[in-house]
């Protein structure tokens, strides 16, 4: 069972709806036992970074442990941003530090938030994008972005006047700045791919 971490932020239900639509079962939970026993974790998030980190509270330590134990983890939007070291959204907040980089505001001179469908170039070596071709539109809604400095991370970019990281993959840690649960068929495929990654990882163990 894949566990979607329930930590009282918006749109968690959308993630569950989309997962169920792609015909794999997920459980919404914040129980440590369920999280430890999961084959993979999804860390969703519609919230300001500081609010999300506070809402996650003590769970963040557990999520970090589970992620470091090589269980697949998929961060979405603010859940993606929380994978990094810190964010400067409404103050300074520490993230999980699983991928090196900082979350900073999108440079001015363009419409902010970056909201809508943007084209992401999909590197062939990123598992989340298998079966999707070279590029695809995904739905974004954010004002801050992850400035990734981790040389172990593979990165997919979107163009917003500069190359903005749209997705990272570092070993078993996956993250997408956009919302796969809200990106139509291409987004559903990503969730399906993640479920497949979880299944494969679990079979190996």
């Amino acid at each position: 069972m894949i566990v979607v971490i329930d930590y009282n932020v918006g749109n968690i239900k959308s993630v569950c709806n989309a997962c169920r639509h792609t015909a794999f079962e997920v459980k919404l939970s914040r129980e440590p036992k369920a999280i430890e026993g999961a084959v993979g974790l999804v860390l969703p998030g519609v919230a300001a970074f500081g609010y999300a980190v506070n809402a996650l509270g003590a769970l963040s330590k557990l999520i970090k442990e589970v992620a470091l134990s090589s269980k697949p983890l998929l961060g979405i939007c603010v859940g993606f941003q929380m994978l990094f070291n810190q964010s400067s959204e409404y103050g300074r907040h520490k993230g999980l530090g699983l991928v090196k980089g900082n979350v900073v505001s999108i440079p001015s001179g363009r419409t902010i938030p970056h909201m809508g469908w943007n084209l992401v170039k999909l590197p062939a070596d990123m598992d989340l994008f298998s079966g999707l071709g070279k590029e695809e539109h995904f739905y974004f809604a954010h004002s801050f972005y992850a400035d990734v400095t981790d040389c172990q991370a593979r990165i997919a970019y979107t163009d917003y006047g500069f190359d903005m990281p749209a997705s990272v993959q570092k070993a078993n840690i996956y993250g997408v700045q956009f919302h796969p649960e809200k990106s139509g068929k291409a987004g559903l495929k990503i969730l399906q791919n993640f479920a497949e990654i979880c299944r494969r990882t679990n079979d190996r163990c």
Partner: protein
């Protein structure tokens, strides 16, 4: 580069989608769950759901309906209508909405925009403005509240600028003069607001043919175009509208 968004709007009353002209003379347009699923499937870029009755009594019914619509909608889904507090926004978001749209409550208590942005992030906070052109000054518009029934003295452009500072992440700008007329958006209004703010502006009210969408984007500077009767009553499909826009060089998601 971001694509321009095509957004069908479901005005919902008594569990049915309805559509009127200039906010009056409502006509039935179908079942919200079916229409939502259809638009999501057909390539709409987003969906807006407005509870136009917005009474406290119907709140629970609306939440249940939002949940049902959300089960089959895999594109961004905005819900609005009578939302007054951050707690209500939280409930709506937890029911499957991705953004909440507020209008009257923000006018009455502008701080609500800030509270919402700090809690959910500004990308979640849509300020809906219902605008009506002043008779005596043709290049000015006043804000209306309470589903168009409550005039205010507030200037639309000033309110939009203030709302951006307070935390609104997007402006859903409806021309009450053009609503339901199918004669085109009020692009002077769209231009006045889109020039004054940096956040995305969704043009609303007046779409009757794909050319109107093009005009709202090019002349009005809109980042997205919202429509209801033009798609509900089967005049044009989402695909037809997108093909038209793409043919004229507008970036759209196909």
């Amino acid at each position: 580069m971001l694509t321009k968004r095509i957004i069908p709007c479901l005005d919902v009353k008594d569990n049915r989608v309805v559509k009127g002209i200039k906010f009056l003379n409502l006509r039935d347009a179908g079942d919200p769950v079916e229409l939502g699923a259809r638009y999501s499937d057909e390539g709409a870029d987003e969906l807006v759901f407005l509870d136009i009755t917005a009474t406290i009594r119907s709140r629970k019914t609306i939440i249940e309906l939002v949940e049902k619509v959300a089960e089959n909608v895999f594109i961004p889904f905005t819900v609005g209508g009578g939302i007054q507090t951050v707690e209500q926004m939280d409930t709506i978001l937890r029911s499957g909405a991705d953004k909440v749209s507020i209008n009257t409550a923000a006018v009455e208590k502008p701080k609500l925009l800030t509270e919402a942005a700090q809690r959910f992030g500004s990308q979640c906070v849509v300020l809906a403005i219902d605008a009506r052109r002043l008779q005596e000054q043709q290049d000015r518009w006043n804000v209306y509240v309470k589903a168009g029934s409550g005039p205010t003295e507030i200037d639309v452009v000033e309110w939009a600028v203030k709302a951006e500072k307070l935390g609104a992440g997007e402006i859903l700008l409806t021309s009450m003069d053009a609503d339901g007329t199918n004669t085109g958006y009020d692009n002077e209004l769209n231009k006045a607001v889109s020039r004054a703010v940096n956040i995305p502006v969704i043009a609303s009210g007046g779409a009757g043919k794909p050319e109107h969408l093009y005009d709202a984007i090019v002349d009005g500077g809109a980042d997205a175009v919202l429509m209801a009767s033009i798609t509900h009553f089967g005049n044009y499909t989402i695909r037809q509208m997108k093909e038209y826009l793409a043919g004229r060089g507008i970036p759209v998601r196909c």
